[in-house]
Symmetry: D3
Subunit: 284 residues, 6 copies
C-alpha cells in the first residue's frame, strides 16, 4: 500500500489510514515487524482511530487489514505483556491487584470495542496468522472476509487464560453453531479459511491477501455510494437486534426511523430508483 495516509489520520504511529476511494477509509494495523502484535500503545491507538472514523463525515465505509504478508495480527505482544507491571506485581494484595486488572481489561476491551461502536460499517480483511486478539477484533467488525491461506485460532487457552477482550462474549452471537464455537475456544486449535467460511465466521474467502483486500475495498466502495442514513441506521439496528428481544428492537427501530425517514435520503433514493439515475447524498 503505497498510498499516503489521510492527512487527518497522519499522526498515528501504529495505524496507517489511507483512502482508496471517495468516502472509503482503509485502516492497516501497521507494525509488520512485530507481526502486528498489540502492546498497550497499539491498542490505545486502535481505539482512537475508530473513534475518529465514527465521527468523520468524509468516511462512509471502512476496510481494516494488517500490514505485511505474514499476519493480520498474532495478538497480544507477549513480550510486552510479560513486562507489564500489573501482571508482574506479585506482591500486591489479591483484592487490590484485582482492581488494577479490572481497570486494565476494561481499557483494553474499550479500545477494541471502539470498532463495534464506530457508526460506519467496517469490513475486516484477514490473512496470514490471525490468532488471539485477531478474533476479538474480527468479532467487532460487521463483515469478515479473508485470504484462503488465513490461519485462525482462538489461542488464549494455550497461554493459560480465558479470552477477555470480547471473543467469548461475541462469538456465540455471531456464529450459529455453538458446538463449533466451543470446540475452537476450548481447544485453541487452528482452523482454516475454508472452515471459517463453512460455519459462517467469514462470508467470503479470496485467493490471497491482495485479492481479499481488493474485494473488501470494492465492498466498501459499494457501501460508500449508498445513503449514509440508510447504511449507518442498518448497522445500528442490526447490532441492536442482536442484543435485544424482538419487541424492544421493533420499538427502537420505530423511534430511530421516525427521524431518519425525515431526511432527504429516502426521497432522493426513491426518485433515483424511479429515474434510474445515480443518487448523491449529503454528508453524515
Amino acid at each position: 500500500m503505497a498510498a499516503a495516509p489521510l492527512p487527518s489520520y497522519s499522526s498515528y504511529q501504529y495505524m496507517l489510514v489511507t483512502s482508496p476511494a471517495p468516502y472509503v477509509a482503509h485502516v492497516q494495523i501497521n507494525r509488520p515487524e512485530k507481526l502486528n502484535s498489540f502492546s498497550q500503545p497499539v491498542w490505545l491507538e486502535f481505539g482512537r482511530v475508530f473513534d475518529q472514523l465514527s465521527g468523520d463525515a468524509e468516511v462512509r465505509a471502512v476496510v481494516l487489514s494488517g500490514a505485511g504478508e505474514r499476519a493480520f495480527t498474532t495478538g497480544l505482544d507477549v513480550k510486552a505483556a510479560s513486562e507489564d507491571s500489573i501482571l508482574s506485581a506479585k506482591t500486591a494484595d489479591p483484592a487490590r491487584k484485582a482492581k488494577l486488572m479490572r481497570s486494565h481489561i476494561e481499557e483494553f476491551q474499550g479500545s477494541v470495542g471502539a470498532l463495534e461502536k464506530c457508526e460506519k460499517p467496517v469490513i475486516c480483511v484477514l490473512h496470514g496468522i490471525s490468532i488471539g486478539l485477531a478474533i476479538d477484533i474480527a468479532c467487532c467488525a460487521d463483515i469478515r472476509i479473508c485470504a484462503s491461506s488465513t490461519h485462525f485460532a482462538v489461542k488464549e487457552v494455550d497461554i493459560g487464560l480465558a479470552a477477555d477482550i470480547g471473543t467469548l462474549a461475541r462469538l456465540p452471537k455471531i456464529v450459529g453453531s455453538t458446538s463449533w464455537v466451543k470446540d475452537v475456544c476450548l481447544t485453541a486449535r487452528d482452523f482454516s479459511a475454508q472452515e471459517a467460511l463453512s460455519v459462517g465466521f467469514v462470508s467470503q474467502v479470496h485467493e490471497d491477501k491482495t485479492a481479499a483486500v481488493a474485494a473488501g475495498t470494492a465492498l466498501a466502495k459499494a457501501l460508500a455510494g449508498k445513503s449514509p442514513v440508510a447504511v449507518q441506521g442498518t448497522k445500528e439496528l442490526l447490532n441492536y437486534g442482536r442484543e435485544h428481544g424482538t419487541a424492544d428492537s421493533l420499538r427502537y427501530t420505530t423511534i430511530w426511523n421516525s427521524v431518519a425517514l425525515q431526511g432527504s435520503d429516502f426521497p432522493t433514493a426513491l426518485q433515483s430508483g424511479l429515474r434510474k439515475t445515480r443518487p448523491t447524498f449529503e454528508k453524515l
Copy 2:
C-alpha cells in the same frame, strides 16, 4: 389456484384463503397484477387474516405464498408510498411528523407481526421476486422454503432507509452468520435460493413454485395430523426460547406444560404410538 376461498375468509380482497387439506389453510397474497406489493390496505388485511387464523379451531397449519408467477412480493407499493400523506407532509414540525411516523410504522409492524403471533405454525413458500417486505414477512414465519429461482434481497438500503418492519430485529436471531446477515442488509445485494439454503435462511429449495407449494402443503398436512396441543405449544416455546434466557425459558416451559399435559392429547398420542394406530385429536 382454482380452489374456492374458505367461506369464513371470503371477504378479504387481497388475501385468498383456501383449504387444500383438512385443518390446513393456504393464504395467498393475491395482488399479482401489482407483483403482490403492499399498500396500507394490503398490510391491514394481511394482519387481520393471521389474527383470524390464530383463533380458528378448523386450522392447524398454514401455508403462505404469493399469487402469480413473478413474485412472492416486491415489497412496498412504492407508488402508493410516494403518495402517502405522512411521508409527503413536508411542512410539519419534525417532532410532530415523528409522531405520525411512529404510529404508521407501528401499525405496519403490527400487521406483519400478526404472522409471528398466529398460534398455528406457518410455512412460508417463496418464489420469484422476494425482496424488501418479503424478507420481513418470511422472518415472521416458522419454516421457510422456496423455489430454486427465487430472487431475494433486503432491498431497503437502496431506497434510502433502514428496514423497519422487522428484518433487522429478527434476521440476526434466525440465521447463524452475522457476517452474512450484515453483508446482505448493508449492500442490499441479491441472493439466490441456494445461498439462502446454505446459510439456513430457508430449509428447503424446490425446483419451481409448484413443487415448493406442494412441499409446503405436504408439510402443513403432516403438522395438521399431529396433536394441536403439542404443535402449538412447540411453536410458542421455541419463539419464547429465542427471545429469553435459558432459565426463564425453562420456567415458562414448566408452567405451560403443567396444563398442556393435562389435556387428552398426551395419552391419546401415547396410546396410538403403542398400538400403531392413527390418533385423532380434539379441536383447539
Copy 3:
C-alpha cells in the same frame, strides 16, 4: 468398555464412570437393555453424577456416551412414564395437578441441566437411536460429535407434548437456522448425522460409535492437558455470553479474569510456550 468404574463413582446403578486417561472421565448411560431410556431413578442419578464431576479436582474433561450398540438413548422410558402416579392421577383438581407437574418437570429439568452446570467441559458422543431426551441432553453439552449412522429426532410432538426438558429453550440458541430448528421440532421427523453436521448441531461425524468415542476421548485428553483455569473459565464465559448481552458479558468477563489471571496458570503456560515445554498445572 471393559474399564473398571472410577472408585468414587462406583455406587451409581445406571451410570458407568471410567477414566480412559488422566483427568478424563467417561460417563456412560448404562441401561442398554432398555436402550438407555430414562425413568426417574435414571435421571436423578444422571444429575448426581454431573454434580459430582463438577467438583472433582481429578477430572478436567468429560466424555458422555450411551452404552450398547443400539442407542445413545431412546428418551423417556414410556412404560415407566405411563405408570407415573402424577400423570395418571386423573381425579385431581387441575390446579393441584399442575403443582405436582411443575415440581416433576423442574426436578427432571434440574437433573438434565446438571450437565450444563458442570464446570468441566463435556463432550457428548451420540450414536444409534438418539431421540427425545437425547436431544435435551446433547443441548446441555459443550461439544457434540456423533457416529455416521446416528438417527436423531426431536420426538416429543409425536407423543402429544411440547419438549420440556430443555430442547425448546436451548436449541434456538445453539444452532443458527431457526427454519431448520422449527422444522425438526414441529414435525418430529428423523434427521441424520450428516444433516446434524451441516446445520451445526454436531461438529464432527465419525464412521461408527467406536471411532466417535475414540475421537471424543482424544478431544477430552487434549483439554485435560491444558490449564484448567483457562478451560473452565472459557466454558463459563461462553455460556454466559450466550445468555447475556455483550456489555454485561464483557463486564462479567472482566470480574472473572481479575482473579483467574492471578493464578499460576497464566505465567506457567506463557513460560512453557516460550520454552516449548509441556506445562503442568495445579489441580482445580
Copy 4:
C-alpha cells in the same frame, strides 16, 4: 357531571367522556347502578376509549374517575363472570380450556393496559369502593389521587384467584415497599386513603370525591397548558425507564430526543420563559 359528552366520544355506552377544559378529557366509568363493575362489554369499551384518546390531537391530558358516589369500581361484575361460558365450560379438556382462558385474560389485560399505552398523561381519581380491578386500572395510570374516604383492596385472593389483569405485575414496580405490597395482595385486606398515601400508591388525598375530581382536573389543565412534545415524551421515557436498565434507557432517551428537540416546542418554551409570556404549542 352534567357536561355533555364530547361529540367524538358520544357513542360509548359505559364510558362518559367530557371536556372540562381545553385539551382536557374527563373519562367516567359510567355504570353507577352496578357500582361501575366490569363485564366484558365494559372492559372492551374501556380499551377503545383510551386507544382513541391516545391518538386524539385535541386531548393533552386525561382525568379518569368513576360515576356515582359509591364506587370508583367494585371490580369484576361477578354475576356476569359467573355466567361466563369460558369459566363455566366444565366439560372441556384442561389443555383446551387453558387456551380459551389465555385468550380471555389477554383480551382483558389488553383492554386495561390501553390506559398505560395511551400517550397522554392520565390522572386516576379514586373514591368510594375501589377494589379488585380498581387497583389494576389505577396501576396503569400515571398519577393517582383519591378522596379521603376511599376504601381500597386488592381483593382477588378472596375470590380464590391471583390478580391477573396487571396488579401483580405492576404494583411491585410502582410502590417502594414490597413488604406492604405483599401484605395487601396476600391478605386482600382493606386499606385506607391515608395508608395509600403513606406508602406512595397515591400522591394526593382530598376531602371528598368532588374535591379530588377538581384537583385532578386542575392538574390535567396544568399539563394541558405545557408543551405536548415535552409532556408526552416525559410519560414515554418514565415508563421506559421503569421497565429497562439505565444504559438502555439513556440510549432510548437519546434517540427519542434527537427528533423531539427538533420540534418547535423547545424554542417556543425557551423564548416564553425568557420573555415571561405564556407559550402556545401546536397540536400533537
Copy 5:
C-alpha cells in the same frame, strides 16, 4: 415456645418448627446460646427446612422468628467463620482459592434463598439484634414485621466485606429509597424499628417480641384460611413481577392462571362470598 415440634420436622437441630394453628408453621432459628448466629451446619439446615415447607401440603403459611430474647440473629458465627478452612487457606493459588469461595458463597446463598423459593408465604418477625445475615434472610421473606426495640444493621462493611448472601441484590428492589439503602449498606450504621417502618423495610412494628410473634401468627392464620391456589399464585406472581418487565410478567400471569383458574378454589370462594359462608379448600 413450649410447643412440641411438628413430628415431620423433629430431626432438625438448629431449627424448631411448631404449628401454632392449622396449616401454619412457625420456624424458630433455635440457637439462642449463640444469639442464633449461623455456622455452616445452621445455614444448611435453614435451607432444608424451607425446602421441606415448600412441598408440605399441611402448611399454607409460615412464621419465621429467632428463639430467645436477645437476637433474631447476630449473623455469621464469626468464630466458626474464622476457623473456616476456605478462608484461612492462605497458601492457595488465588485462582484456585476463588473456586473454593464461589462454591462456598453459592451454597450459602442457596440455603438462605430457599426461603424466597418456598412456595408458601413467609412472615419474618424480627426482634432484638437483627444484623448482617438477619437482613439477608429478611429480604427473602414476603412480609417483614418487628418488635419496637429491634436493632438493625447491614453490618458487613464493618467486617471488611460486601454483603454477599443477598442483601445487596434484593434490598434495592424491596425498599423504595436507594439513598437510604446506600446509607445503611455503606455506613453499616444501626437503624431502629421505627426507621425500618418509615422506609418500608418492615410493614408493622409491635410493642415487643411477644406481640410481634402474635401478630405474625395471626397474619399467617388469616392467610392459611384462604385459597392456597390464590395465595401461592399471588406470591409467585409478585416475585416474578419484581424481577421481570411488565409485558413478560403479564404473559407469565396469563399462562399461570390458565390452569390455576381451572381449580375448584375460584368457584368455591366465589360461592362462599355470595352465600357469606366460610370456604374450605383442598390441600395444595
Copy 6:
C-alpha cells in the same frame, strides 16, 4: 470554603476539589456567579473530575456540593444553550441534525454519568435552587442530603423538553412512588426538602447549607475510615442489584467476592473488631 484545592485537581476551572479530611474529597461546582449553571465546558470538566476521583487511591469518599449560597445548580446554562450551534442549526436535514444531537446528548449523559461510574461513594449535598440538571446529577450520587430550604424541580418540561441527562431513566429506580415521580416530572412543579425526604429522594435534611455540608463531610469521613474493598464493593454491588434481576446479581456478587475476600481487609477488620482496635487499610 477557604481550603486550597488538592494539588492534583488544581487545574480545573469550574470544579473546586479540596480535602477536608484524610481520604475525603470535596468537589464543589464552582461557578456561583452563574448560579453553577452548566455550559459544555462545565459538564466536560464535571465528567473528568469524577473519572479522576474514581482512580485516585488517595480518595475513599466524595462530597459534592455547589459553591455559593443561592444554588446547587440552576441546571443548563440557557444562554449558552441558546447559542449552541447544534440546536440552532435550523437548516440541517432532520436525519443529519439527529446525528449531531445524538452525539451531543451522549457526551452530556456521559459526563454526568461519570459520577455514577466513580468507584468511590459520592454524597450529594443539595441546597438553594436545585433544578433541572441538579436532579440528573443527584440521581447519579449514592446518598442525597440537603438543606431545609432547598428548592427542587424537574424543570425540563417547562422549557419544552423531556429530561434527557438521566432523570427519567434513574428516578423511577431510586424513589419508591411512581405516582410522585410522574407528578413532579410531568408538572415541573417545585418540591421542598421536606417532600424530598418524605418520598425518599433525599435521606437527610439539615438546617442550612453549612450544616448539610458538615453532615455530608462527616458521613464521608466515616466511610473513609472503613475498608475500601468493602465500601467500593458495596457501591458496585448495589448499583448492579438495581439494574439486574436477583439471580444475575447473586452470581455477580459471588464472582466479585471470590477475589475481594482474598484481600487483607476482611481479616484486618475481623481482628480489629474482636480486639476493639481501629483498623488501618491499604490504599485502593
